[in-house]
């Protein structure tokens, strides 16, 4: 994807060794991050995250569904990421599929703790999604879209998901019936009446005035550390990613607990290095969460001013 000459590679490696990367960052610093919320009014929550030249959109939609027979007390979460060809010609046709599924699986591991999302999610409390055990639950569809790609997509997507979930919780609006689909609302509260009839028929009333509180206090962020040469760096650009030997993505929640971990790249890692990377990622995540929190506050404030 990104071809670099030997001279440029040497310059980049040297810079990482000297703790001064090509855009002036230190090894563990992030690029400026910017957040815009509510970009997809049709979704229950949505956000666009810009990290340098990387732009991603995440949206969350909630739909009523039936819990899996094996886990009657849990709702379902589906994560699906798509790479738009607008990000580059390499994503045209089926070109983006490999990366898309890699990102989807990475996020599923990091945020849900499992591929199916049926396990006790580290990030999302799945049991809070159940409305009537074994009968009806909320299915959360998390869709990510990569609009412009300049490295570190996983962290950006996770941040976008985290941010839209935040909005999810806080923004409640009461809409007139035919606008429901088009306003940035929380999940409508659903009252379930179990009919006495034999077939377990459910009658669902969607109320527009009350909303379900959704517990998201422990939503993790992902910090990806990319190993280039002997050192590892946070928030790698696509040029830096082209030189990586391996990368470790650690998802850490607000309490500093590691919720998930994925390693990519061909080269092996020494276990001690891995442990070191995890503790560094944990430290970096604190800063990232703080930055996200302040950005969310700023985005909220801007939106309030606008309305």
């Amino acid at each position: 994807m990104v071809g670099l000459s030997a001279g440029e590679k040497q310059f980049m490696h040297g810079g990482i060794a000297q703790d001064l990367r090509s855009d002036g960052r230190q090894r563990l610093q992030f690029r400026p991050i910017s957040i815009q919320t509510g970009v997809i009014p049709q979704a229950n929550g949505s956000a666009r995250v810009t990290l340098g030249a990387t732009v991603v959109i995440a949206s969350i939609k909630a739909e009523l569904g039936k819990p899996a027979p094996l886990r009657p007390d849990k709702g379902k979460v589906v994560i699906f990421i798509d790479c738009s060809p607008t990000a580059g010609t390499m994503f045209e046709g089926r070109g983006g599929e490999e990366l898309s599924s890699e990102l989807s699986v990475g996020l599923q591991r990091c945020l849900l703790g499992g591929k199916s999302g049926a396990e006790a999610g580290a990030g999302i409390d799945l049991s809070s999604l159940v409305l009537a055990e074994g009968k009806i639950c909320w299915d959360l569809y998390i869709d990510g879209l990569v609009i412009s790609s300049d490295g570190n997509l996983l962290d950006a997507l996770a941040a976008a998901i985290k941010v839209c979930r935040f909005i999810f919780l806080v923004r409640f609006e009461i809409s007139s019936p035919w606008q429901v689909a088009l306003s940035n609302t929380g999940i409508p509260k659903v009252s379930v009446i179990v009919e006495a009839s034999a077939e377990d028929q459910l009658e669902v009333n969607v109320s527009d005035e009350e909303f379900l509180q959704f517990d998201t206090s422990g939503v993790p962020v992902i910090v990806t550390l990319t190993k280039v040469g002997r050192h590892y760096i946070a928030d790698a650009t696509s040029e830096e990613e082209s030189q990586m030997s391996s990368a470790v993505s650690v998802s850490v929640n607000r309490h500093g607990r590691v919720c998930g971990l994925t390693k990519r790249g061909g080269a092996g890692l020494d276990p001690s290095v891995m442990l070191d990377m995890i503790s560094v990622a944990k430290h970096a995540s604190e800063n990232l969460i703080a930055v996200l929190d302040s950005e969310i506050a700023a985005a909220e404030a801007a939106e309030d001013d606008g309305s």
């Binding site: 997809i40 732009v55 607008t86 569809y141 869709d143 790609s149 300049d150 088009l182």
Partner: protein, 221 residues
Amino acid sequence: MEYVSSLTGFRFDGRRPNEMRQIRGEIGVLAKADGSALFEMGNTKVIAAVFGPREVQNKSQQIDNQALVRCEYSMANFSTGDRARKPKGDRNIISYSADHGSKYINTFDASFSGKNLKQIDIFLQVLQADGGTRSACINAATLALADAGIPMRDIVTSCSAGYLCSTPLLDLNYVEDSAGGPDVTVGLLVKMDKMTLLQVIALMPTFFFFCCCICFVLLFV
């Protein structure tokens, strides 16, 4: 269902039958593309990215004395209200994008082709679909091509219209679009006053076809 109020003559979203939704265009939204544009028609939102003109990547596709124009259209999963899963290779969409591509070839400047064979890629990404995505895509692509500095004979604009409750309606939104009435999408070269795209779904009286043509010329004036 009553799509046009018999009392006030207004539509669901408060528009008059011949009124468009609010449109908004923004160019240069993507850093890495040669040209890019974001186009909104009401709640319908499309991003277009143009890459090229560049060397033809697949030499077997090279056409003599003509630029190779390719177009890919994709819809984000979250773009529709009900989140129907539409895989990328959907046949509908492929023919759809082929349709787009061939249409655009015709609008390119002849001076642009000639000896230097080139490839131009247009990528359309629907972020939100609320009716009229096809029109929005065409308008977005036009803006992106202009942003990329690609010579064009004329500006292509597009708009849709439908016929519901015995009233011709301009620029249908999703609710009106799915009502099952006849609808028509027209692409027009503004300066030359020529039509480049005409797509009709369901039968309809011809007179209103005429009226919708006139209405959307207003679009880019």
